[in-house]
């Protein structure tokens, strides 16, 4: 019961803030809502027993990536959002059509869930000693090569960002 | 309380210029003055000596030549323009004396160069020769309204940008223009002229 209450509250907030992110007039407000949204997502992860991921979500997403967004918004600090002088709802029809399709899909999933409840799967691998150890163990054994590729990706992105943002090299 | 008997203020005629006494016979001007006179004949109008200071009175139109020579001449080498200022002598036709105080850090000697400039007469700026003169000339422009030409940045410096009049001129009242000037300069001028008239009568 407690789990359900927690889920509904967190999920509700996630969706509310996600809507606010998309609808906020000012980009800075969007960024702030995004941070709050990510904090709730982190809470959801924690409730799912993924503490390490929850912390990473806060540390990397909320504390790192979104600060970058905020930084750029401040640098590009426009007096008014582009919507003020460009047609703000150019693709509204398409957007809403797409979301209608999406909602339809959701409905299908939901009804399918009612018709045929997901079987409770047995635990495949017993947790090692804790969530962090488990994730770390997997990262450095089975998924070592993807991990290295991800690090290469980050390096390339870092160099790319510097090259792009620097005025003269 | 008894009124003190009013002593009518004596109107002293305003002086028409500094005395600029010529050097006494036993004082020879510094060597570079002779060099200057030789290099630029006619640029030096007179020399003067008073309480230990040498002054060159130069032709206003040739100030740039004189300044360049004084800076670059090896016996003069006045690399430092320690002050530029002006004096207002209203009765004179060329009412301003622009005074340059020069100093040489190499020879450790001083000279004063003085030129006479009229109220609207354009006068070449020496800020190209001594960058230090930049602000000094701005101040002279601000305070006296000397019409400097070739100045890189001729704005008022101490007074507000929209100030009317030139405060250091002798005919500018000490108490300032008052509110009236700021609001209506023409009325102020009329009032002032009326006051001066009454003063004379």
């Amino acid at each position: 019961m407690g789990e359900a209450i927690a889920f509904y509250i967190i999920a509700g907030f996630i969706l509310i803030f996600a809507v606010l992110v998309v609808t906020a007039k000012e980009a800075v407000h969007s960024v702030v809502f995004l941070v709050i949204d990510f904090l709730f997502v982190a809470a959801l992860y924690a409730s799912l027993g993924a503490e390490f991921l929850a912390i990473i979500q806060i540390l990397v997403y909320a504390g790192g990536i979104v600060v970058l967004y905020l930084f750029v918004v401040m640098l590009v600090n426009l007096k008014r959002p582009p919507e003020a002088y460009a047609d703000p709802h150019r693709r509204t029809t398409l957007g809403f059509a797409l979301s209608a399709a999406m909602l339809l899909e959701i409905g299908v999933i939901a009804s399918y869930g009612y018709v045929k409840p997901a079987p409770a799967l047995a635990a495949v691998a017993a947790p090692v000693t804790g969530n962090t150890e488990e994730v770390g163990w997997l990262l450095y054994t089975s998924y070592l090569i993807p991990f290295e590729i991800a690090s290469m990706l980050l390096l390339v992105a870092m160099i790319g960002a510097i090259v792009l943002a620097k005025r003269e090299l | 309380m008894a009124e003190a008997p009013k002593v009518p203020e004596k109107k002293v005629a305003p002086p028409s210029g500094p005395p600029d006494p010529p050097p006494p016979a036993d004082k020879a001007p510094p060597a570079f003055v002779a060099t200057l006179q030789a290099a630029l004949p006619g640029a030096v109008v007179a020399t003067s000596y008073w309480v230990g200071d040498w002054t060159i009175i130069a032709e206003a139109s040739r100030i740039l030549d004189v300044a360049t020579h004084l800076r670059d001449g090896s016996d003069a080498a006045f690399d430092m323009c320690s002050d530029v200022t002006a004096t207002d002598w209203p009765p004179r036709a060329e009412r301003f004396d622009v005074v340059y105080m020069l100093y040489s850090t190499r020879h450790r000697h001083r000279i004063r160069v003085k030129v006479k400039v009229g109220e609207h007469q354009p006068h070449a700026s020496v800020s190209g020769i001594w960058p230090a003169a930049n602000w000094f000339e701005r101040e002279i422009y601000d305070m006296f309204g000397v019409n400097f030409t070739g100045h890189p940045d001729r704005r008022r410096i101490l007074m507000p940008d929209d100030w009317q009049g030139f405060p250091q001129r002798k005919d500018y009242p000490l108490e300032g223009p008052g509110e009236l000037l700021m609001e209506n300069p023409l009325d102020w001028l009329r009032l002032k002229q009326a006051r001066d008239q009454a003063d004379i009568e």
């Binding site: 998309v22 999406m102 959701i106 980050l154 | -």
Partner: protein
């Protein structure tokens, strides 16, 4: 009882909001943020299944997705800055040239 279906519904809704954001908004920074929402929707799914299956692989993939998101944000925002410097706009409709 909260089943994976609930998480999938949440994830799908979040995904939809992100897609609508991308479609409707013209400010490129907000479009980027909508993409972050979409990535998070995916992550929620991964973590929910990871929990359901009692297997941490889902979380490992979520971490990879976060790494990719960081890379995407760094390069994307770099492009936005470079673009803004030249065109003084962040409106995506005005970004119609491949070079300037």
């Amino acid at each position: 009882m909260i089943t994976p279906t609930h998480y999938m519904l949440l994830s799908a809704a979040l995904f939809t909001i992100g897609v609508v954001g991308v479609m409707v908004r013209r400010n490129i920074i907000i479009i980027f943020m909508s993409i972050e929402l979409i990535l998070n929707a995916v992550n929620i799914n991964l973590v929910a299944f990871s929990n359901q299956l009692q297997n941490a692989v889902g979380q490992v993939f979520a971490i990879f997705i976060i790494a990719v998101a960081a890379a995407e944000a760094a390069v994307g925002l770099g492009i936005i800055l470079a673009f803004f410097r030249n065109k003084e706009t962040v409106n995506i409709d005005e970004m119609n040239l491949m070079r300037w």
